[in-house]
């Protein structure tokens, strides 16, 4: 009955949602927000990546297992014995959207532009400690590093490293990725109306898609990336055939959508998008490891994740997803399980005594801390539930929710004690270098975690030549951080893509949180 009602309401609201059914041979994809721009090195937005992966290609691609690096624009590559020089052999049949042939010079230009401080790329560090990138001939690129960087191939599979055309970049200047684009991808830029839609059309010559797809060429004539901010409207549009796919589904709707006959659902087990609460380890109260440990023990993670995500996320009982390259199971055992009695004991032993207002006190300091978060439904619900759990053991958690427009600025300050966030990562070294390297203070290392041993381990995880040594180093970093309870890991989101019945071959990939990736196997039946 309840489901019937929900379905009826969805159908009613669909009437006013969007104007018309999705046009023939045009894939309409819905998303929640637009990107700031579509220039690969200049945006870190997932929405930018969604379209850039379709408009351009990277040297290497990532398989569905999120571990295996597959060919992309480079059909093969070699790594020198000292781990400092990568030689990429490029495909010879590739052209840009404007028909210009793709050569090694384009790779050199793209990479140098990414590294150029004038580009102001927020993700420049991902390119590694580059010494020089040169074209040996038209179809061979040498990527030389100052020191080994085991992460390089993973990083080059991210959309920031997408190859762009020099002439178009120079013609459009700062408007590249705003007024136009020229890449080698399966779809080409047609038009962008910010906060409404981005229209792409099929790249007619494209047949060099990554081998992870059955089809090396696109199957659909046009793709429209349409922004629909309201989740209920997105669901209604999908069910009534006004749209073909979306990954922006409220968790509460997933189980219902899976039972609906007119919607297909696809998921991806190897999806690395985690939610966590981080503690500023140098602030009063938070600087007591016992408090951080007690918080980890006091909060019923499994119940919260079930109540907030309705089974579409898994409780994060470790700092990383077990399917990540570089995950260490021993470190995962150091993360305390839910045990409120143990939390009380931990606090008692550390000298935190229950105060008159049911908040513990030690040396005149109340066990109270302030949490900043950007206002989203999930973060609000998770933190409120945590707040209630912590109250039961005598810890006061204050929550301050910020609008996204000012929130990111506030989260760069030192005025709060804890924060909640979610983020995508490719490997253990990728995620940990981002957050736990002391050089990344104050952001993204908002915990102010500054530990020489962690820094050394992260360095080794990147530069060691022997894969086993790299593995040992990243495992060490995970153990150091987990033992100190720098985070309360919350949830591992699962990726779901809902698609209409006419769209076949929609499969969730999930690189950098992007579900459709290149979308080469997607075919419309009518």
């Amino acid at each position: 009955m309840k489901q019937l009602l929900a379905a009826a309401l969805l159908a009613v609201s669909a009437g006013t949602a969007l104007a018309q059914p999705a046009p023939r041979n045009t894939l309409v994809v819905l998303r929640e927000i637009d990107a700031d721009n579509y220039d690969p090195p200049r945006s870190t937005a997932r929405s930018a990546g969604e379209s850039i992966y379709m408009m351009s290609d990277t040297l290497v691609s990532l398989d569905w297992d999120m571990k295996t690096v597959k060919p992309g624009l480079a059909e093969r590559w070699e790594v020198s014995p000292d781990g400092r020089t990568y030689t990429f052999h490029l495909r010879r049949d590739v052209t840009f959207c404007d028909g210009k042939p793709f050569t090694a010079r384009d790779v050199v230009y793209t990479m140098n532009r990414w590294l150029d401080p004038a580009t102001r790329s927020p993700v420049r560090w991902r390119a590694g400690p580059v010494k020089e990138i040169r074209a040996r001939d038209d179809h061979t690129v040498e990527y030389e590093l100052n020191e080994p960087y085991g992460e390089l191939l993973y990083q080059l599979s991210l959309f920031f490293a997408s190859i762009v055309d020099q002439a178009t970049v120079e013609r459009l200047g700062p408007n590249f990725g705003v007024q136009g684009f020229n890449g080698t991808g399966p779809y080409c830029w047609v038009s962008w109306t910010p906060r409404q839609e981005l229209v792409l059309q099929k790249h007619p010559n494209y047949r060099w898609g990554p081998p992870i797809y059955a089809n090396p060429a696109p199957q659909v004539d046009r793709v429209i990336w349409r922004v629909v901010p309201e989740s209920q409207t997105r669901l209604a549009a999908l069910q009534t055939g006004q749209a073909d796919a979306t990954q922006y589904i409220p968790p509460i709707a997933i189980s219902q959508l899976r039972q609906m006959p007119n919607v297909r659902m696809s998921t991806q087990e190897n999806y690395f998008w985690d939610y966590f609460v981080g503690f500023k380890v140098d602030k009063p109260v938070m600087n007591d490891p016992a408090v951080r440990r007690a918080i980890n023990q006091a909060v019923n993670r499994a119940a919260i994740v079930q109540a907030v995500w309705f089974g579409s996320a898994k409780p994060a009982d470790a700092y990383l997803n077990p399917n990540t390259a570089g995950y260490d199971a021993e470190a995962a055992k150091l993360v305390p399980g839910y045990d409120p009695e143990a939390a009380k004991r931990t606090l008692d032993e550390a000298g935190w005594r229950m105060g008159p207002d049911n908040v513990r006190v030690k040396d005149g300091q109340r066990a109270s801390f302030l949490t900043y978060v950007i206002n989203t439904q999930q973060s609000r619900q998770v933190l409120e539930a945590m707040q209630a759990d912590l109250r039961r053991v005598g810890i006061e958690m204050k929550i301050q929710m910020w609008d996204a427009t000012v929130g990111w600025g506030r989260l760069a300050t030192q005025e709060f004690d804890a924060f909640m966030m979610s983020y995508p990562y490719v490997t253990a070294t990728d995620g940990f270098s981002l957050y736990f390297d002391s050089r990344n203070r104050p952001t993204p290392n908002r915990m102010n975690w500054s530990d020489p041993a962690t820094d050394r381990a992260l360095e080794q995880a990147k530069v060691a030549l022997d894969p086993a040594a790299r593995m040992a180093a990243i495992a060490e970093a995970q153990r150091l951080v987990a033992a100190a309870n720098v985070w309360f890991p919350v949830a591992r989101e699962q990726l779901w893509v809902a698609s209409s019945m006419r769209a076949e071959g929609v499969r969730a990939h999930g690189i950098y949180g992007v579900a459709l990736y290149k979308g080469l196997d997607i075919r419309l039946t009518r």
Binding site: Q381, L383, E384, A385, R391, D403
Partner: protein
């Protein structure tokens, strides 16, 4: 001394309550308002559960579930408790904002009317400027500076109330100022402050009082809107606008979480508007019969 005695014996209209109760809508509004105020004041004693204690196992239980006449919210908290405390927060917010904005606005309005030559222009132009900013915009700006929270909302609402109050106060003060007894009080050498306090203010009060009652409903509505946008009450505080905002994500799945607080807001605003209308009728000498 004799002036003081005269003031004490100034004629007061008897039977305001009687006149109010004669109108069924007004009587209903008055009784309902009193009930709301009582429920808000007694919330800690009336509430069946602790407002902050959650039970995720009961998350989104529909109204009528065992022990949960109004159901439970997403955190599994009893909606009856949340509504009582939400009512309390909303009324307190409306009351403090109306009071703060009212006191400042009335004072400015009196000053503008009383010292018309020097202050009327500057004050009233400032009020016009303030009127041109929508309250939501003021709220956004204040939340951006001080951080979201109930106090930011109160400040924003008070600021939005000041120019309206100033206009009402100035208008009725200008009328009163032309009356003979003001002239008489001036003639016996009464100081300005005393004149305003003893003669001007009491005679402008009914208009201000009526407007305050009407404004209170609007303030609650505006405050709920700001809270709905996430600028107001921070978790875990219950506030009607914030509760509606939280519930809108589950509108298709657990409508009661959003609908019940919305009904609450609707009822408060309606009650205060009816009360304001009735008060205006009762206090207006031209409508007396």
């Amino acid at each position: 001394m004799s002036a003081t005695t005269a003031e004490a014996e100034a004629p007061r209209r008897p039977g305001l309550l009687a006149r109010l109760l004669r109108d069924p809508a007004a009587a209903g509004a008055l009784i309902f308002t009193l009930l709301l105020l009582a429920a808000a004041a007694l919330a800690p004693w009336l509430a069946p559960t602790d407002p902050l204690d959650n039970n995720l196992a009961l998350s989104m239980q529909p109204p009528g579930s065992p022990g949960l006449p109004l159901g439970a919210d997403a955190q599994g908290r009893d909606m009856v408790t949340r509504m009582l405390f939400g009512l309390r927060a909303s009324l307190l917010m409306g009351f403090s904002a109306t009071l703060a904005g009212g006191v400042v606005g009335v004072l400015l309005g009196f000053l503008a009317a009383f010292y018309q030559r020097w202050l009327d222009g500057p004050i009233m132009r400032l009020m016009d400027m303030m009127l041109s900013f929508p309250a939501i915009l003021v709220g956004l700006a204040i939340a951006a500076i001080f951080g979201p929270g109930l106090s930011s909302v109160v400040l924003a609402l008070a600021i939005a109330t000041v120019p309206l109050m100033a206009r009402i106060a100035r208008g009725s003060a200008l009328v009163t100022m032309r009356l003979d007894y003001i002239e008489a009080a001036r003639a016996i050498g009464m100081t300005d402050a005393r004149l305003i306090w003893r003669h001007l203010a009491p005679n402008c009060l009914s208009a201000i009082f009526v407007f305050t009652t009407l404004r209170f409903g609007q303030v609650i509505l505006l405050g709920s809107a700001l809270s709905f946008l996430g600028l107001g009450a921070q978790p875990p505080t219950a506030e009607l606008g914030a509760m509606a905002s939280e519930g809108r994500n589950f509108l298709f799945f657990a409508p009661h979480i959003a609908v019940i607080p919305c009904i609450g807001i609707f009822a408060i605003v309606l009650a205060f508007n009816l009360l304001g209308d009735a008060l205006r009728d009762a206090l207006d000498p031209r409508l007396r019969f």
